[in-house]
C-alpha cells in the first residue's frame, strides 16, 4: 500500500516537474524524452499572422522588414544557402573525423520557418541546423541528419536570440559565480526572446536550468564617468589616458632603440625602459582602452557631454559606447563621425527646457535620427518612477522592462527607426557594440546556436516566443512551460480563449 502511495506521489512529482520541462539538462533523461520536438503542424494558419484588428488594407504600417528583406533576397538567397551548405559539408567532415569515438553530436534542426539571419537575407522555409551548440548550417537545402532532433517552425519566424545590453536581477555579476538557473525570471526573459544578457561588465547566456556555457565573455568594458558636472573625474581620465599613451610611445621607442643597439654592438644595453607606473594597477585600464582591448562605456545624456566624449574618443582612438544619449539627436552627426555606438532608451521622458537656446531633452525620434547619421543604435527599456528598465518586474507592471524588450525597439520604430534596424538593434548591433558579435547577434554558421522561434513579427506587440534555443538546447518551450502556455495556445490572435483553471475558489482535494 505504501508503494502505491509512493507511486502516486512520484507521478505527482513528475507532473510538477513538467514545469522545468526541457530545461532539466540531464544526459540520462535525454534519450527517451522526445519532448521539445513534437511536430507542430497545425500551428497558426499559413498566412501571415499579423492582422489583429478587423481593419485590413493599409499597406503603410508594418511588414517593412519583410519587404526590405524580400527586396534583395532573390539573388542573394541562393548564394547564402549555397554557402551554408558548403560550410555545412565542411562541418560534417570535420565532425566525423574528429569525433569518431567521442560522445555523439547533439543535433537540432529547426525547419520550415522564416529564417531571419539579420546579417544576411531572410530565408523563407529555411533550415537552421545546430551541432553541439553551434550553428552548423543555414539554408533551404540543408540535409538533416537522421539522429537530429527536429523543431518544425512552419508558419513561425526564426530570429537570433536577443541581447539585453544591460540587465539586473537576472544573472549574477559574473554569470558563472552565482546565477540561479532555476529562477523564474529566466523563463520570463526567454519568453521575451532574450538569450544573452550583460550583467555588470560581463556577458552571460540565459541558460535556463543549466550552467553549461552560461558565461559568454568577461570584462567587456570599462565604465568611465566623463560629465561636465564632474570636472575632476574628467581631468583624471584625460591625464590617465595621456600618461598611458606617452608610456606606450616611450616603450615603443625604447624597444626600437634597443633593437638598433643590438644590431650595433654586443654589450649589455644601458637603456632603461620607461617607468611603467602609468599602466600599473588601476591605471592598467587606460592601457587596455588605448590598445582596444576593452570598450569605454559612458553614461551621458547632455549634448555637451556627448560631444566631449566624441572628442575624447577621437583623440585617443577609443572604442566607445554611450548609454542613454537622450540628446544624441541634437549632435547625431558628431557622434556618427566619432564612430561611437549608442544604447538608447527610446521611451526616455525628458521634456527639456524651452528656455535654452538649442534643441534639448529627449525625443522618441532619437534612435531614428542617430541611425540616419550612421550611429549604431542598440536599445534598452527606460526606467520610470516605478520600474527599472533593466529588470524583470514580477509585480504586474509590464511593457516597461526586459519582459518586453522588443517593445522598446517598437518604440524606436515609432520614432522613425526602420524596422530592420530595430531588429538589428536588439541583435547584431548590440553584439557589435559590445564586441561579442563573433559569438552572438545573428544566425550565421559557426556562431552560438541562440535562436528564438516566434509566432509573428518580432516587433509586433502580440508576438510570443514559441521556443528559445540557447547554446543549441531548448531553454524555453512555450507549450511546456506553465507560465504562458495558456495564453493563445493555438496562436489565434482574434480570440481570448478559455480561462485556465484557478486556484480560487478551489477547495482542498479538488483536482486542478
Amino acid at each position: 500500500m505504501r508503494t502505491a502511495d509512493l507511486l502516486r506521489v512520484l507521478v505527482a512529482l513528475v507532473a510538477s516537474l513538467a514545469f522545468v520541462g526541457a530545461s532539466v539538462p540531464l544526459a540520462s533523461a535525454e534519450p527517451d524524452e522526445p519532448t521539445p520536438d513534437e511536430p507542430t503542424p497545425d500551428e497558426p494558419s499559413p498566412d501571415e499572422p499579423t492582422p489583429e484588428t478587423p481593419e485590413e488594407g493599409d499597406e503603410e504600417d508594418e511588414s517593412e522588414s519583410d519587404e526590405s528583406g524580400s527586396g534583395d533576397t532573390e539573388p542573394a538567397e541562393d548564394e547564402a544557402s549555397d554557402e551554408a551548405t558548403e560550410e555545412d559539408g565542411v562541418g560534417n567532415d570535420e565532425a566525423s573525423e574528429e569525433e569518431a569515438d567521442e560522445p555523439k553530436d547533439e543535433l537540432l534542426a529547426i525547419i520550415g520557418g522564416n529564417v531571419h539571419t539579420v546579417t544576411g537575407p531572410t530565408i523563407p522555409g529555411g533550415t537552421v541546423l545546430i551541432r553541439n551548440g553551434r550553428i552548423d548550417a543555414i539554408g533551404r537545402r540543408v540535409t538533416i541528419p537522421d539522429e537530429a532532433e527536429v523543431i518544425d517552425a512552419s508558419g513561425h519566424e526564426v530570429y537570433p536570440g536577443l541581447i539585453a545590453v544591460d540587465s539586473s536581477g537576472l544573472l549574477s555579476r559574473n554569470p558563472r559565480e552565482g546565477t540561479d538557473p532555476y529562477a523564474i525570471q529566466l523563463p520570463f526573459v526567454l519568453a521575451a526572446g532574450i538569450t544573452t544578457a550583460i550583467t555588470s561588465d560581463n556577458a552571460g547566456k540565459v541558460t535556463s536550468g543549466t550552467l553549461d556555457g552560461i558565461l559568454l565573455r568577461e570584462n567587456l568594458f570599462i565604465e568611465l564617468e566623463y560629465l561636465s558636472t564632474e570636472p575632476a573625474k574628467r581631468r583624471e581620465i584625460r591625464r590617465g589616458l595621456g600618461d598611458a599613451r606617452r608610456y606606450l610611445r616611450d616603450l615603443a621607442a625604447h624597444e626600437r632603440e634597443k633593437a638598433l643597439e643590438k644590431l650595433g654592438e654586443d654589450e649589455e644595453s644601458e637603456l632603461e625602459p620607461p617607468d611603467d607606473e602609468p599602466v600599473k594597477g588601476r591605471n592598467s585600464r587606460y592601457k587596455r582602452l588605448l590598445e582596444g582591448d576593452a570598450i569605454a562605456r559612458f553614461e551621458a545624456d547632455e549634448a555637451g557631454d556627448l560631444v566631449a566624449i566624441a572628442d575624447l574618443a577621437e583623440e585617443f582612438g577609443l572604442r566607445v559606447i554611450i548609454i542613454g544619449a537622450e540628446e544624441g539627436w541634437t549632435v547625431a552627426d558628431r557622434l556618427g563621425r566619432a564612430d561611437i555606438s549608442v544604447v538608447v532608451r527610446p521611451r526616455a521622458f525628458n521634456p527639456g527646457d524651452d528656455d535654452r537656446m538649442r534643441a534639448n531633452g529627449a525625443t522618441i525620434e532619437n534612435a531614428g535620427i542617430l541611425h540616419r547619421h550612421g550611429v549604431p543604435v542598440a536599445v534598452i527599456p527606460a526606467d520610470t518612477w516605478f520600474t527599472q528598465g533593466t529588470q524583470v518586474g514580477l509585480w504586474g507592471l509590464a511593457g516597461k522592462d526586459l519582459k518586453h524588450l522588443a517593445y522598446s525597439a517598437a518604440f524606436a520604430v515609432r520614432g522613425g527607426l526602420p524596422s530592420r534596424a530595430a531588429i538589428e538593434s536588439l541583435t547584431i548591433t548590440a553584439a557589435r557594440t559590445l564586441g561579442i558579435d563573433d559569438r552572438v547577434g545573428s544566425l550565421e554558421v559557426g556562431k552560438d546556436a541562440d535562436v528564438i522561434i516566434t509566432d509573428g513579427d518580432l516587433l509586433h506587440f502580440m508576438t510570443h516566443v514559441r521556443y528559445a534555443v540557447v547554446n543549441g538546447r531548448v531553454a524555453y518551450d512555450k507549450a511546456e512551460d506553465t507560465l504562458f502556455n495558456h495564453i493563445r495556445p493555438d496562436g489565434d490572435r482574434a480570440s481570448v480563449g478559455e480561462a485556465p483553471a484557478d486556484h480560487w475558489p478551489r477547495r482542498l482535494g479538488e483536482p486542478w
Partner: protein
C-alpha cells in the same frame, strides 16, 4: 532507580573517570528490558520482545528469552523501544559565531564543554549521541561526536569527524569552495613535488653510496684507508630530518637546482647524511582535511550543506572549475525547507542508481514536506529520495536545535510517513544512518547483539506526534526518564 540514588552514584562514577569497562572486576551487571514493541532499526520490529543487556552491551534480542535470575528487569511492556537517536549536526547550546571562508583547521571539540543543563534537551528528545559542528559558512571545520550523558553532560566519542562545508547560496559560498579546492590541490601538488625531489635525491644518494661502497671495496681490496662503513648503518642513516626536508620542499623554487648536489643545509656534515625518510611538507591546516579527502585518506566524508538545485549545479561546476586529482568524498545535506531540490531529482536519482555497495548513498536532510518552487504543490521529496535508494540522515534545519526543533524532526518524519515515506526508513534516518555517517555504526544505531545498549522508550510509535520520550537508556542504565 530514583533521582536521588543516582545523584549519590554520581560521585562514584565521576571518581571512576570515564572507565566504562571496569566490569571485568565485578559480576556483570545484567539488565532485561521487556518491551511492548522493539524497533530494532536493523531488522524487523519485534512485538512483545526482550532485550538482554550485559555491562551496557546488548547480548540478546528476541521473543521471550531466558533471562538471568539476578537481572534487573525494566518493564516496558506498554512502551516502544528504539535505538538511541543520533543527531548528526547541531550547535546545541553553542554560541553563534559569524565566520566565513576556508577554515578547515577548526574542530568543534575546541568549543564544546560539559554542561549538564545545556545539553539535556538532546537527551530529553531521545538523542544519545550528537555531532557538534563548527560555526559559520564556507569550509567551516570538522565535527566532533559526543555521547549525551545526564551526569557528565558529554563524553567524547570521536573528536575529529566529518568536515562541514556550506553551499547554501552559490553567490556567497562558491568562491570559498573554489578557493578551498584550489588551495588543497596546490598543497597536494606541493607534496608531490617534494616527493619527486626527495626521490631524486634518494636516487642520487643511493648512487653515491653505492659508488662509495664500490670505491671502499676497491680501496679495501687495495688495502687500508678509512671506511665509511657505519654510514650504511640503517637506523642512523634513516633518521628523519624533517626540518631539512621541509625546508627544501617549501623554499625551493620549482626548478630545484640544488637537488643533485648533496644537501647544503647540513653544512660540513653533509657527507654523513642521506635524504632520510620522506617527510611530506607541512600542509596548510585550513585545507588539511580537504587534502586528506582528495587523496582518499580521510576517514570521514565532507558534508556539504546545499541550498537548492541551483547550488547543486554550481557545486558540480566548482568541482569542474578546479582541476583536482579526485573529487572529495562528500555527502550532500539538503536542509533548506524552501529549497528547490526537486529540479535536480533526476540527477539525484541517477546518483542513487549508480551507487555501489549494500548500503545506499547517504543524504542528510531536514524532514519536511517540500513545496514546489513558484507553486503551492506539495511534494514528499524525501520519500522520493528514500524510494530512489538514498539512506537519509534526519537533522533539524536549524543549527541551534532547541528542544522543540528536535521534537519537530520526529513529527515531520511522521508526516512524511503519512505521505508515503517508509516507516522503517524514517526510523533509520534517526539512528542507523547517522551512525553510519559518523562512522560509529559498529557500536550504535540499532538494537542488535553486540551493540551498546543506548535505548529510547516511547509511549507509542516514535513518529506519532502524540508519543513522547519516557526513558532514555545509555549503556544499559536509565539516564533520564519523565518525572
Amino acid at each position: 532507580m530514583t533521582r536521588s540514588v543516582r545523584t549519590l552514584f554520581s560521585g562514584l562514577v565521576a571518581a571512576c573517570l570515564f572507565t566504562t569497562n571496569a566490569g571485568a572486576e565485578y559480576d556483570p551487571e545484567i539488565v532485561v528490558v521487556k518491551a511492548g514493541t522493539i524497533i530494532t532499526a536493523s531488522g524487523d520490529a519485534i512485538e512483545g520482545g526482550e532485550i538482554i543487556i550485559e555491562d551496557g552491551e546488548i547480548t540478546l534480542v528476541g521473543l521471550s528469552l531466558d533471562s538471568p535470575k539476578n537481572a534487573e528487569v525494566i518493564d516496558a511492556r506498554d512502551m516502544t523501544v528504539m535505538p538511541g537517536m543520533i543527531l548528526a549536526r547541531t550547535r546545541l547550546n553553542l554560541p553563534f559565531i559569524r565566520r566565513s571562508g576556508v577554515n578547515g583547521q577548526f574542530v568543534a571539540r575546541d568549543e564544546v564543554y560539559p554542561d549538564l543543563t545545556g545539553f539535556r534537551p538532546a537527551l530529553e528528545s531521545g538523542y544519545t549521541a550528537v555531532a557538534f559542528v563548527p560555526p559559520g559558512t564556507g569550509i567551516t571545520g570538522r565535527a566532533s561526536v559526543y555521547r549525551v550523558m545526564e551526569i557528565d553532560g558529554l563524553r567524547t566519542l570521536d573528536a575529529d569527524n566529518y568536515l562541514r562545508a556550506t553551499f547554501e547560496d552559490a553567490a556567497r559560498d562558491k568562491g570559498a569552495m573554489v578557493q578551498a579546492l584550489t588551495k588543497a590541490q596546490a598543497e597536494i601538488d606541493k607534496i608531490e613535488e617534494a616527493r619527486e625531489e626527495w626521490e631524486k635525491q634518494k636516487e642520487a644518494w643511493d648512487k653515491k653510496q653505492a659508488e662509495a661502497k664500490k670505491a671502499a671495496e676497491k680501496e679495501s681490496e687495495n688495502g687500508g684507508g678509512d671506511t665509511p662503513a657505519d654510514e650504511g648503518d640503517a637506523p642512523k642513516g634513516d633518521e628523519p630530518k624533517p626540518e631539512g626536508a621541509r625546508r627544501r620542499a617549501t623554499e625551493e623554487p620549482s626548478g630545484g637546482e640544488t637537488g643533485d648536489d648533496s644537501d647544503p643545509t647540513n653544512g660540513g656534515e653533509k657527507k654523513d647524511e642521506g635524504p632520510g625518510e620522506f617527510v611530506p611538507p607541512e600542509i596548510d591546516p585550513s585545507v588539511k582535511p580537504l587534502v586528506d579527502l582528495i587523496l582518499g585518506e580521510a576517514e570521514h566524508p565532507l558534508i556539504i550543506e546545499i541550498g537548492g538545485a541551483s547550488e547543486m549545479l554550481h557545486l558540480r561546476d566548482a568541482f569542474e572549475q578546479v582541476t583536482i586529482d579526485a573529487e572529495p568524498k562528500h555527502v550532500l545535506a539538503m536542509l533548506s525547507p524552501s529549497g528547490d531540490y526537486s529540479y535536480q531529482i533526476e540527477s539525484l536519482a541517477s546518483v542513487a542508481a549508480g551507487h555501489e555497495g549494500d548500503d545506499g548513498p547517504l543524504l542528510m536532510v531536514s524532514p519536511a514536506m517540500y513545496t514546489e518552487r513558484y507553486t503551492v504543490e506539495r511534494v514528499n521529496l524525501l520519500g522520493e529520495l528514500a524510494f530512489a535508494g538514498f539512506d537519509l540522515v534526519s537533522v533539524p534545519s536549524s543549527l541551534r536545535g532547541s528542544s522543540s526543533q528536535l521534537e519537530d524532526v520526529r513529527q515531520e518524519l511522521g508526516m512524511l510517513v503519512r505521505e508515503g515515506l517508509d516507516h522503517d526508513e524514517a526510523i533509520r534516518s534517526l539512528t542507523l544512518h547517522p551512525a553510519r555517517l559518523l562512522g560509529i555504526d559498529t557500536d550504535f544505531g540499532s538494537i542488535e547483539k553486540g551493540k551498546t545498549a543506548d535505548l529510547v522508550f516511547f509511549n507509542g510509535d516514535p513518529l506519532d506526534p502524540a508519543s513522547s520520550v519516557q526513558k532514555v537508556m545509555i549503556e544499559g542504565r536509565i539516564e533520564w526518564e519523565t518525572e
